[in-house]
């Protein structure tokens, strides 16, 4: 299994969603590290480097996912990032992707709506990790 050793960081403040995602991603054969908040994730990232990150969007800040994504990309531009959210496009306005400045620093490789099926997610991860 070529996927066996890749580590995936999952950050979500919904403990149930985190539990389920960890379950599915581990089943796909990946190593999983989790954090329950932006803050916790930032601490983790100072000591480890995942191969891919799946981030929730709204945590302690409504744009926590973007902030984390920005910070990860600045440190490790090669790590693919998936932003998963329960709100999808409706939040477009509240965190203002409309503004030029914000758009410039928002960099995720993929946006997913929560509730995506595990097999779909698996395909996306494989694509991003180029496995």
């Amino acid at each position: 299994m070529p996927t066996a050793k890749k580590t995936i960081l999952i950050v979500d403040d919904d403990i149930d969603y985190l539990y389920q995602l960890r379950f599915h991603v581990e089943k796909m054969g990946f190593e999983v590290v989790t954090a329950e908040s932006q803050r916790e994730a930032e601490q983790l990232l100072s000591t480890m480097k995942p191969d891919l990150a799946i981030l929730d969007l709204m945590m302690e800040n409504e744009d926590s996912g973007f902030i984390l994504s920005y910070k990860i990309k600045r440190k490790y531009p090669e790590i693919p990032i998936i932003i998963a959210t329960a709100v999808a496009a409706e939040t477009g306005m509240s965190f203002g992707i409309s503004s030029e400045q914000e758009r410039k620093w928002i960099k995720a490789d993929l946006y997913l709506e929560k509730g995506i099926r595990p097999d779909q997610l698996h395909r996306e991860i494989i694509k991003l990790l180029k496995l």
Binding site: D16, Q20, V87, T91
Partner: protein, 377 residues
Amino acid sequence: MLVVDDEPGIRSGVERILRNFTVSYPFLEDEIGFNIVEAETGEAAIEIIQKQPPAIVLLDNKLPGIQGIEVLEYINANQPNILVMMITSYASLELAVKATNIGAYDFVPKPFTPQELKASMENIAKHFFLRQMTRKLHKEGKQVRFQFLTVLSHELKSPLNAIEGYLRMMQEKQTGDKIDDYAEPIERSLSRIQAMRNLIMDLLDLTHIESGKRRRDLREIDLVLVAKSALDTMTPMAVQRDITLELVNDEPQPIFADSDDMEILLNNLISNAVKYNVKGGWVKCEAGHTESHIYCKVSDSGIGINEEDLSKLFQEFTRIKNPQSKNVSGSGLGLSIVKKIMELYSAEVKVESKPGEGSTFTLLFPLPNSIIANEGI
């Protein structure tokens, strides 16, 4: 939508792809379709934009006369409301970045598949309608409401996602064949359902307060009696967590108010004091009056709130998240309800708190209390 490209093949291709393509949106009843106007050159495009400005311009950069980027500059200067999607070849990523920096909404690299074009168009069309709607709502002073709904939809969808996830795991027998293998997911699902029910109850409280439709029955009631009953309600939870509840004084404190309002206030404050407490802690409630105010104070030995979080405390859907509070469930509406009720009484709610030591919430009703109830009650 105006398509500007010198290659007729691209123009007709775009027309063909989008002819029957529609975008739907949860807040809109109708689906969004595209009316397509074509221009072969930048000059022709500007002419059309002057006469009949489109909502969206799909703009190729390489044009026979003036370049796409100049058309973009023209649009920015004269019709800043038009959203521009640049078409660029893969080789000119630099140009694409430049275009987005000077105001293009986004770009599609050429050659694009019908799927890619549709995805980009869906994006830009949604943005267009959201922006239009935001402006309209803003004009009507309803933007706050819309943001509220956005967050609310998030708060309602999260438990559904969680429960759905657990049910799928069960349906696919992912962790075993026996129902007992799923005790934890079942327990968690029930708890998410309960939290959702609480959210809906709080939401109804909030709606009642805001609509002003509920008749307030203003009469002289005893605030201490209300406090007593709120403490009684919370006793089972307090016992479970080994927290002592105490009513500091027993003397009646008359207040001219609606008893449902007072109940909501004290239930919220006391349940917070119990929920955000430590094992073996205490909650004290005291009601009385000074020369200028009737007051009711709820203090606790809980986890406290840091200064940064204090400012956000009364906003809707604020839930202060830290390691100590992460297992506490709540709708995030309790304190905003408290604040709204207090506003109806021209009264004030104060909070003092020290992280690790506890918090004190004080309700202050101005005296003479009989003048209350002027607005909205």
